[in-house]
């Protein structure tokens, strides 16, 4: 196969050339600068930096909180998508639009708002304090902020699939004697599964890198509530560029792996729905 199939339309060289040039300058060169910089460390030194106890603790916090947030959204996202697609209620269009708020609201704004609400003297914090639940300035606060930030992902991946799910499938199952619960478990959920997993992975990937909304509510206590992006920042503030770079490489590798996983999931999802 030739590099490019023949086409009568013009502008291929110009548009692809510009695309590659711009991509290289903005994304590829800077990212390779990161990798190059990290090669300034010996493998041993690199390992030492990325496995420092405080950094290890930050992985636990970041991955644990991200996983929890993505899990919470797996359920609440399915619930919200279900209600938005299947039932009608007042102001539905408005609420549907509002679901995207976490994508539109700057993360710092979300961060200070959540910190204020869940601080011990905040509107929710006051309610939770007598129950002995502390949210702000604890790992729980991190989970909360990440749940907020990633709320739309599962909703927006599941919603279109649920919308396109033919009523006939449920009618067929019903005429074959299945109960409503059996239909949900055996017919609806398996159809939604790829979309659910894609949404979950997207939310998880986003949560791992999140910084702005978390730092205000996390309390940032070493070994307890420090997230990995914060470790990069604090290394930078100490002018430890190599240390920051090493941790960034770890994050980059994880992000890239997740990106590939998500692409794979989307391919699987398309195949499963019989579109390929």
């Amino acid at each position: 196969m030739a590099f490019k199939k023949h086409s009568v339309l013009p502008g291929f060289n110009l548009s692809l050339g510009y695309t590659l040039l711009y991509l290289t300058i903005i994304v590829l060169l800077p990212l390779s600068a990161l990798l190059l910089k990290s090669s300034g460390l010996t493998a041993h030194a690199f390992w030492a930096v990325v496995t420092e106890p405080r950094v290890l603790a930050s992985y636990r916090v970041t991955f644990g909180a991200s996983l929890l947030a993505a899990l919470i959204n797996l359920f609440s996202g399915l619930l919200i998508a279900w209600v938005l697609v299947r039932y009608s209620f007042p102001a539905k269009r408005f609420i549907d639009a509002l679901v995207d708020l976490p994508f539109a609201l700057p993360t710092a704004v979300a961060g200070i708002a959540l910190a204020t609400i869940y601080a011990p003297n905040g509107s929710m914090g006051e309610l939770l304090a007598p129950l002995g639940i502390k949210v702000a300035f604890t790992p729980l606060g991190i989970v909360l902020a990440l749940t907020f930030i990633t709320l739309p992902f599962v909703v927006r991946t599941v919603q279109p699939v649920l919308q396109d799910l033919e009523v006939e499938l449920e009618e067929a199952a019903s005429s074959l004697g299945a109960t409503r619960l059996q239909i949900f478990w055996k017919v609806i959920l398996p159809t939604l599964l790829p979309a659910l997993l894609t949404g979950f992975a997207l939310a998880f990937a986003r949560a791992i890198g999140e910084y702005g909304s978390v730092i205000f509510i996390a309390g940032n206590m070493p070994y307890v509530s420090e997230i990995t992006p914060l470790m990069i920042i604090s290394k930078l503030e100490q002018y430890d560029y190599l240390g920051a770079t090493a941790i960034a490489v770890v994050m980059l590798v994880v992000s890239f792996g997740l990106l590939l996983l998500i692409n794979g999931l989307q391919w699987w999802s398309a195949k499963r729905l019989g579109r390929r």
């Binding site: 033919e166 006939e168 499938l169 009618e171 067929a172 199952a173 019903s174 005429s175 074959l176 004697g177 299945a178 109960t179 059996q182 055996k186 017919v187 398996p190 159809t191 599964l193 499963r272 729905l273 019989g274």
Partner: protein, 349 residues
Amino acid sequence: MSIEIKNISKQFGEFKALDNINLEVASGELLALLGPSGCGKTSLLRVIAGLETPDDGQILFHGEDATDTHVRERQVGFVFQHYALFRHMTVFENVAFGLRVRPKKTRPSEAEIKKRVHRLLELVQLDWLADRFPAQLSGGQRQRIALARALAVEPRVLLLDEPFGALDTKVRKELRRWLRRLHDEIHVTSVFVTHDQEEALEVADRVVVMNKGKIEQVGTPAEVYDTPASPFVYQFLGDINLFHSRVHDGWAEVAGARITQTDEPNAANATLYVRPHEIDLSRVAAGSSIAGVVSHIRLLGSTVRLEVEVAEHDAVEVELTRERYAEGDWKVGEAVWLNPREAKVYLAG
């Protein structure tokens, strides 16, 4: 299992989908619900299935009131136009679904399920596809699997909603003959919905012609085709020509010529219905002839269609066999006489 439909009505908002329907389906018969889209045939089928609740009336299965029985307990097999196969399950699992969702007490053993599914797949002649997924099958195969799935629960009645509607012409013809043979084999009371008159006439024991939420006529294919009960049925079951007519002393007349005898009273405004293949052409006028000029001739495989211009009418279509056309040796531009062999008169209004 006989089905009795009593005074069924169903309204969707302003739209009256079913208007006081009464119908009986005999045990073991294959009945077609025929009509244009929006005539209520699918709504009626869904009401019988229990997928839709009627506003009024009753559905009796074998004399027992089933109106309030949930579709889950009604034991009907329903086949959808677009198959509605479960995409994430193999063919085998699709057919086994109805058995697997039964409560533990009545659920067959795994071995029994296996045996029954394979027997059904053999019945629809697709046993070799058991491990495939629906996406890997052709449309015709999918519909046969859907049928096997519906039969797996041993339904008391089988309901099919435009079962061949999504298939191309050739597969459609094959599959409807196959369905007829299958029905002769298993004899389960079946109702199927179609908008294709050819399909209804070929496959069904009896045809129910519906229009605007009402039943126009019920009868065997020969009855509805040969003696249509209303202009609508006449028009819906094949091509027709319409002539302005008047009724005078027991005769229907077109442009002064007496075409056919009728029992209708004298009337100045009537319409005469004549099918294209029920018209003969001649070069000399008989007593019941209408004058015209041949304007187009089209060869359509085994038949020939002539368009004849008649004064004050739309062009009249005449269908001749190849032999008759060759005998007559008709030419475009030639003046001819039309002699309807069969015709039916309906008074205006």
